[in-house]
């Protein structure tokens, strides 16, 4: 089982914002973006876009999607599925849960409805 990381209090990340958990701080070795979506839920994806170097945490979060800040590829926050060009590869999801007001990240543990990359 992956090591669980306590990222923040659930009030610390405003809706529509995201934080990055650096690769050196999680056992996947890759930066992970944790998003606070407009539905109030938290989601996590690999931070780097599958197209070029860009941080999805800097992207525009709307509904259950994040739009890459560089070329506007959209990814589904729930499944990691790529929804539009120029990226063509989906990305990895990581399980996030809120327990007692804390946001807990399970790096490397895909959520159940994630797409296969």
């Amino acid at each position: 089982m992956a090591q669980v990381l306590d990222i923040a209090g659930n009030d610390d990340i405003p809706e529509g914002e995201a934080v990055v958990v650096p690769g050196e701080d999680n056992e996947t070795g890759k930066d992970i973006a944790v998003f606070h979506a407009e539905d109030g839920e938290f989601y996590a994806l690999d931070d780097n876009c599958t197209h070029e170097t860009a941080s999805l945490a800097d992207g525009w979060i709307e509904g259950d999607r994040v739009e890459c800040p560089l070329h506007a590829t959209e990814f589904c926050l729930r499944t990691g599925k790529v929804m539009s060009l120029p990226a063509t590869e989906s990305t990895f999801t990581h399980k996030v849960e809120v327990v007692d007001g804390r946001v807990l990240l399970h790096p490397g543990e895909a959520v159940s409805d994630a797409v296969r990359k």
């Binding site: 800097d58 992207g59 800040p69 070329h71 506007a72 060009l85 063509t88």
Partner: protein, 479 residues
């Protein structure tokens, strides 16, 4: 945006064609075949492009030119992806399409590819393909030469394919003197990459500031200042003539445009002298360059449509060019239908017309090309296309990511500036609504602006100008 989940049109749904052939493998051609399969089309599907597997284009003057992206990375998908979807990709150049008629209708299109040159030096008959529906996605190509000397060896005449990108990449060595004619999107991007590589760059604009038709005057002036600050010599003027100075074969001094190997083989290293080009302006100024790029715009490659009698707009945007037939884009309705049954056009080669058939402004941008492909795929299968909002495109230069949404060329201008400089230039209409925006290294500001434009309501001008107001708060309803 592109959800891939079509809405059903209901009654009047046409029978899907038995076979569809797409000519052109850029963003539009690729998106079209992808969408057609996603939307459930099961017929025969073929795509033809001279470069084979479909390829993205914007990186050609950016990441690819810089050497940060490979030829393979330009490709949207590998061969296996097309195989899985039973999409046949053919490497070849289409020379002619002709409709075989049955009664009043075109029953089937014959699509002829360029043949190989035989032992006798003559071109053989090329392979022939048949399809019930042909979709033109041929993009843009060179416009007529705008100045004498366009076919010299050291002059790259337009930039629209991987071939020119390769050529430039090889010739842009440190110390080489590059003159870029035309400061539009491509010209500016090439100038920026060239500077990074230690090339000495001169940029010639015929009427300045460059690309003000894309960015609006305020942002365009801002971008031109950025060129100068980084060390690009920006020159205002009309190029009269380009002349090969030495070593040119023959008295005429006009070589054929040669391929990558031809240029590097014959000319050696630029900057080493011996193959310089004299650039002369109409006002008498002149200088030498080792390499000239004519980036004066591209025109829709609409000859195939023209030759089968489809309505094609006259050429636009070319100063001093002949008023040739066509060259202004294949006229299409809002979903990509041309005036000829079973012939469609998408992406840069297409030109939307209004209800009365008059051509609308040609946009020629990456996202618009993909949207047009998606809309055509939907319409061909009798499904409803999505609603489209404000247009969007981007440009990268001097390390800055610039985005444009809507129409930033008209209206009252508002600027947002912080300690890093100008972050956004906004255009407001008469009712205080947002018409367009140009953003500098601020992706969220561009996305917020896009949503504000689509809402079409009066915006809070003070908030737009205030860098303390976050992009998200600009679109959030006041609480």
């Amino acid at each position: 945006m592109s959800s891939g989940e079509p809405t059903q049109a209901g009654a009047g749904r046409p029978t899907p064609p038995e076979s569809v052939l797409v000519i052109g493998g850029g963003p539009a051609g690729y998106t079209f075949v992808d969408q057609l399969r996603l939307r459930g089309y099961r017929g025969e599907l073929t795509l033809v492009d001279p470069d084979g597997l479909p390829m993205d284009r914007p990186p050609l003057s950016k990441e690819f030119l810089r050497g940060a992206m490979s030829r393979e990375e330009l490709q949207f998908r590998d061969q296996a992806w097309y195989d899985e979807r039973q999409i046949t990709v053919i490497s070849g150049r289409v020379v002619e399409i002709s409709g075989v008629r049955r009664g009043d209708d075109v029953a089937v299109w014959e699509v002829e590819l360029q043949g190989e040159v035989g032992a006798d030096g003559r071109e053989q008959w090329g392979p022939m393909h048949r399809a019930e529906v042909v979709v033109l996605a041929t993009g843009t190509g060179p416009v007529a030469a705008v100045s004498e000397g366009a076919l010299l060896e050291r002059v790259i005449h337009q930039f629209y394919s991987v071939h020119e990108a390769h050529l430039l990449r090889k010739l842009m060595v440190p110390g080489a003197r590059l003159t870029v004619v035309g400061g539009g999107l491509v010209g500016a991007e090439v100038a920026s990459v060239a500077l990074e590589r230690g090339v000495v760059v001169t940029l010639v604009n015929s009427s300045g500031p460059a690309a003000h038709r894309s960015f609006g005057k305020v942002a365009a002036a801002q971008l031109e200042d950025a060129h100068r600050e980084r060390g690009v010599d920006v020159v205002q003027g009309q190029v009269l003539r380009l002349t090969q100075l030495e070593g040119q074969p023959g008295a005429g001094g006009v070589d054929e445009v040669t391929g990558v190997d031809g240029v590097t083989g014959a000319g050696g290293t630029p900057g080493a002298g011996g193959r310089a080009v004299l650039v002369e302006l109409a006002d008498g100024r002149s200088w030498e360059a080792d390499l000239v790029l004519q980036a004066t715009g591209a025109a829709p490659q609409d000859e195939l449509a023209l030759n089968v009698g489809a309505e094609v707009a006259p050429r636009f945007n070319v100063s001093g060019g002949n008023e040739a037939r066509g060259g202004g884009g294949v006229l299409v309705d809002s979903t990509g239908r041309t005036s000829v049954p079973n012939l469609w056009a998408i992406g840069d080669v297409a030109r939307r017309s209004d209800e009365k058939g008059a051509p609308l402004t040609w946009s020629g941008h990456w996202e618009a090309a993909m949207h047009s492909a998606e809309d055509a795929a939907a319409a061909l299968l009798g499904q409803s296309p999505e609603e489209r909002g404000a247009k969007w495109f981007w440009s990268d230069r001097h390390g800055q990511h610039i985005e444009v949404v809507g129409d930033p060329t008209a209206g009252r201008v508002i600027t947002r500036e912080d300690e890093r400089g100008v972050r956004g230039v906004f255009s407001l209409g008469e009712a205080g609504e947002l018409l367009g925006a140009v953003t500098f290294d601020d992706a969220r500001l561009a996305r917020a602006a896009r949503r504000l434009i689509d809402r079409g309501r009066e915006v809070d001008a003070a908030a737009l100008a205030d860098p303390e107001v976050s992009a998200r708060d600009l679109v959030r309803p006041a609480r």
